[in-house]
Amino acid sequence: MATEEQSEGLVFHPMDQFAIKPLFGGDAVHMYTPTNATLWMALTVLCIFALFVLGTRGRAIVPTRIQSIAELGYGFIHKMVEDVAGKDALKYFPYIFTVFCFIVFSNFLGLLPKAFTTTSHIAVTAILAMAVFLTVTILGFVKNGAGFLSLFWISAAPLPLRPLLALIEVISYFVRPVSHSIRLAGNMMAGHAVIKVFAAFAPLVLISTGIGLAVTPLSIIAITAIYALEVLVAFIQAYVFTILTCVYLKDALHPHH
């Protein structure tokens, strides 16, 4: 076994956990095949449903524990939209809250052992980010007409600098959906891959008792510490995605600098 381990490197590949597999056997993945990604997205929606529909069904004046969690989340995002994007952005609060719930629940569900993190796939986050980008761009033109282009023409800067700044602003505007989606997917993927790398080091004591005695406890401690960090990152990345959506929305509603 020892020679096999040395030639193979790690016991399992840290990126294996992101593989998309059909749920009911077979290898071919078509657009209609139920895969593990479909399963965990459905579980995400079920959890959101359970928290916000079943949890608040009592509509108690003194909320139960689950109802107060739902109310806390609602109030948190409501205040964020109001603070960052302004009062007139509250019309778009349902969409922003939906995006936040989906991301935060898929991030947390992905932290369960053996789970599949749907948000670790750029395909998923790119759809979320493109939806935000297209909505915000169309909204900006609908609300302000051609005045939306003043977002790129910074009137506070000296006149000779403005064309250069306009070029930079246009580039940074079109990079938005890229960074918006890859930030979330990259953070999720990297965190989970790091956990798996340490998990692959953990059984080293079974292979070589010399160095394994030192490496195994260290890697188990490292898994625990990084898992705690990942719980934090799972929430913060959902928060960052949502707050950037609010920032982009504010640019669309009030493009004048």
């Binding site: 603070d83 890859i182 913060i236 960052v240």
Partner: protein, 78 residues
């Protein structure tokens, strides 16, 4: 033989793209450090600026993410 050299270059480039992490680390540390030193001087104003800090972190981090993107492109697209 030629393909091997191209692949070697891609792997070396993907490894070098990791230096972007250091840049992102400096940026994020700078944002949070300055926020903290400001917040300790005026704790009453700190709560209102947490959102701004996270926006700053996100923008600083985005450039580190682009190096990750370059590494991904080198590994899987080139």
């Amino acid at each position: 033989m030629e393909g091997d050299i191209v692949q070697m270059g891609a792997y070396i480039g993907a490894g070098l793209a990791c230096t972007g992490m250091g840049g992102a680390a400096v940026g994020v540390g700078h944002v949070v450090g300055n926020f903290l030193s400001g917040a300790l001087r005026n704790p009453s104003a700190a709560n209102g600026q947490t959102a701004t800090m996270f926006i700053g972190i996100a923008f600083a981090e985005a450039l580190g993410i682009f190096s990750f993107l370059v590494a991904l492109l080198l590994m899987f697209a080139v």
